[in-house]
Amino acid sequence: MVFPAKFPQLNATDLTNEARSVLIRVIRVAFPHPTFPDGPYERTADTILREAEDSTWFRVALTQGLITLRHLAGGDFRDLDDVEATKVLRRIETTEFFGFIRRTTVLNLYDNKDVWEIIGYEGPSFDKGGYINRGFNDLDWLPAARIETYEGPERLIETPTGGSAARVHGGGATSAAEPDPAIPLGLADATLTGATK
């Protein structure tokens, strides 16, 4: 790669197509999803390039980082296989260059319908009536679970009696002698069940 910017005057940086292509490869190596097509990676690379246009610091970091990549790769970064390319990125992971790419990718790659569909997220749901009739409870590989408060014989021992040194052992808790204010209006409550002291 020659100098990654088309113009030596960095304020006018318009990164070359080659630079964009390297950037796409960097994102794919750093965030490998076997099921993602190129589109989401290209979209993310273009977001990074747009943000670099607005920030001199990122533009400088990006330009310098792409040059460094070429040095570390001993040639074109795009020619490295996944394992070798990952090793190169590990060497630069603390740089501003990589941090800028990582942060921007994390914020943008997963914030788009194109990847939601692939990983099984369904996006906005209110306009579709939520999931009340669309599978909020369609899990079929475990038995139905109790939803009500536990009403069995055990009591939650809220704290050991006699201070922290003494511990109440076993499940045979005593029953409360007086109404417990932790239990609202005499109703059992999963979070506050039973005898305290």
Partner: protein, 521 residues
């Protein structure tokens, strides 16, 4: 809505969330007019969007803040210590809905846990028995499921995984609540449609918030003068040391003065101490109501953390009520586990955009992308437990960074206590065991998110030298100044804080009304 003149000595409430919104409703319902100053805008339910980042940018408190200390937040999200809301209704508009009560011993943390190195433990000047009637009122107001005749919510997929895992590891005290979202129509609000969006605001109005209940009811009395987009910068006082006005900026940046006969601050636990510190004066050189030196200290955020577990089969955790699943077995205080206090395990889910940002901040490579690739087969839970107050965990004014109004931004300094770390590790391990019991093939330990539970920076105390407010939330130093949010928590307890904030505000409203009647203020 009735307009109250700027030079009328008004009852001024700062903030319209769980504390301020409740206080405004309770006072106006008793015939007492109030001015409510809300820094955020007036978002309505129709304004909410089912999109994580868009909603975040619409609702979150994004005014600049700084961080310090050894917590990961200072590294990963240095300008976002807390994830709370800036809008009418405050953080109740994006909360999930879990409403456990505090336990009796959690009001006496110092006596129960004993002296713990590095912790600034103190017993509350208040007991569970005293608060219990107000918990009842709060649960009825909020429509907490499982209680007072409210039906439990049905099991969603994420809950089915959690509850089966709980059962298999021997937990007993699990259920889909208590949870302040309707399983069936109640109090003019419809049943949940299980749309899976809580942190983005509930467009369906099934979830309790002060925006859906207290604010409109206070407006209907004609006694509330609600002023959105009004950011309070200072509380002023007269020569006798009584609060006499608040100074606030409107959305155009114009400074106004509202005369006050009583000021109640409910700006959440970062902005509340910030405002008291910004109100320092020759009479109160360390900040208003800060003779104890405790304003801003003892900042607590709960010992949180998440575990996202992967399975061979679909879960689709994003469908349904986010946090309608609670396990209370670990909420007990059992020092044999290696720490004091307890924690809950509650279902949680994030969409891919937020899971990518918060699941393992800073990570990349295949270990990271596996989390996202497994999205549809992932179940998630949140650990939420008591963290210990420490004097050095503290909100201060950072005078080297200014916000858009030129005001010093709050800095939040936080270090985990060893007890917090031990509890979190225990929670991670228990969560993994629970998920393995139902076939998990891998799990991700997620560090605490930017804090959604913010507590303790103006704590209650029996003695003026050890805290900022008394058992009613009334400042020890300033008789007509009240704190009405989670800042007053003496300790954090394990429970999600909103129910307790609401119960305290209902109780405080009764006290204020009585004091106004008898001339006690």
């Amino acid at each position: 809505m009735s307009a109250i003149e700027h030079d009328d000595d008004a009852i001024v409430i700062i903030g319209s969330g769980a504390g301020g919104g409740t206080l405004a409703y309770e006072l106006t319902a008793k015939g007492i007019p109030v001015v409510v100053l809300e820094a955020g805008g007036y978002l309505r339910h129709d304004d909410y969007v089912n999109d994580e980042w868009e909603a975040f940018n619409q609702m979150a408190w994004l005014d600049p803040r700084t961080t310090s200390g050894s917590w990961r937040i200072a590294r990963d999200f240095p300008n976002l210590p807390a994830w709370i809301v800036k809008a009418v209704g405050g953080t109740t508009t994006h909360w999930s809905g879990a409403t456990p009560r505090f336990k009796a011993h959690e009001f006496t943390a110092r006596s129960t846990y004993g002296r713990i190195d590095g912790a600034n433990l103190l017993d509350w000047p208040l007991t569970l028995a005293e608060l219990a009637p107000y918990y009842d009122k709060a649960e009825v107001a909020m429509g907490s499921t499982h209680l007072h005749g409210r039906k439990p919510l049905p099991a969603n997929n994420n809950y089915t995984v959690l509850a089966n895992g709980a059962e298999r590891v021997g937990y007993k005290f699990y259920s889909t609540g208590p949870y302040a979202t309707n399983a069936e129509e109640y109090d003019g609000r419809p049943a949940s449609i299980q749309d899976g969006f809580n942190f983005q605001g509930d467009k369906n109005k099934s979830k309790w918030s002060t925006l859906v209940r207290e604010i409109p009811r206070a407006e209907a009395t004609g006694l509330m003068d609600l002023r959105p987009e009004c950011h309070v910068v200072q509380i002023t006082h007269d020569a006798s040391g009584r609060a006499d006005a608040v100074l606030y900026l409107d959305k155009e940046g114009n400074l106004h003065r509202q005369a006050a006969k009583l000021v109640a601050v409910a700006a959440n636990s970062i902005e509340t101490p910030r405002l008291l510190l910004q109100s320092a004066s020759p009479m109160f050189p360390d900040g208003l109501a800060n003779s104890s030196g405790q304003v801003g200290r003892n900042y607590m955020r709960h010992t949180s953390g998440s575990v996202y577990a992967r399975f061979n089969d679909p879960v689709r955790m994003h469908r349904g009520e986010t946090m309608a699943g609670v396990i209370a077995d670990e909420s007990r205080n059992d020092p044999d586990r290696g720490f004091s206090g307890g924690y809950y395990l509650e279902t949680i889910s994030l969409g891919p955009a937020f899971l990518a940002s918060f699941g393992d901040p800073g990570a990349w490579g295949r270990g990271f992308t596996e989390i996202l690739d497994a999205y549809a087969n992932t179940a998630g839970l949140w650990i939420v437990g008591e963290d210990l107050p420490q004097e050095s965990n503290r909100v201060t004014l950072n005078t080297s960074v200014a916000d858009k109004n030129g005001l010093p931004v709050p800095n939040v300094h936080f270090d985990d206590h060893a007890n917090d770390i031990a509890m979190r590790e225990h929670g991670y391990a228990q969560a993994e065991v629970l998920y393995e019991a139902v076939g998990s093939i891998g799990a991700q330990r997620t560090p605490p998110y930017p804090s959604t539970h913010n507590m303790g920076t103006s704590r209650m105390s029996a003695l003026p030298e050890s805290g900022v407010v008394d058992k009613w939330g009334r400042a020890h130093d300033v008789p007509n100044l009240f704190i009405s949010d989670g800042s007053v928590f003496t300790t954090s307890a394990a429970a999600n804080p909103t129910l307790t904030i609401v119960a305290l505000a209902i109780r405080q409203a009764e006290y204020i009304a009585e004091q106004l009647k008898t001339g006690g203020i």
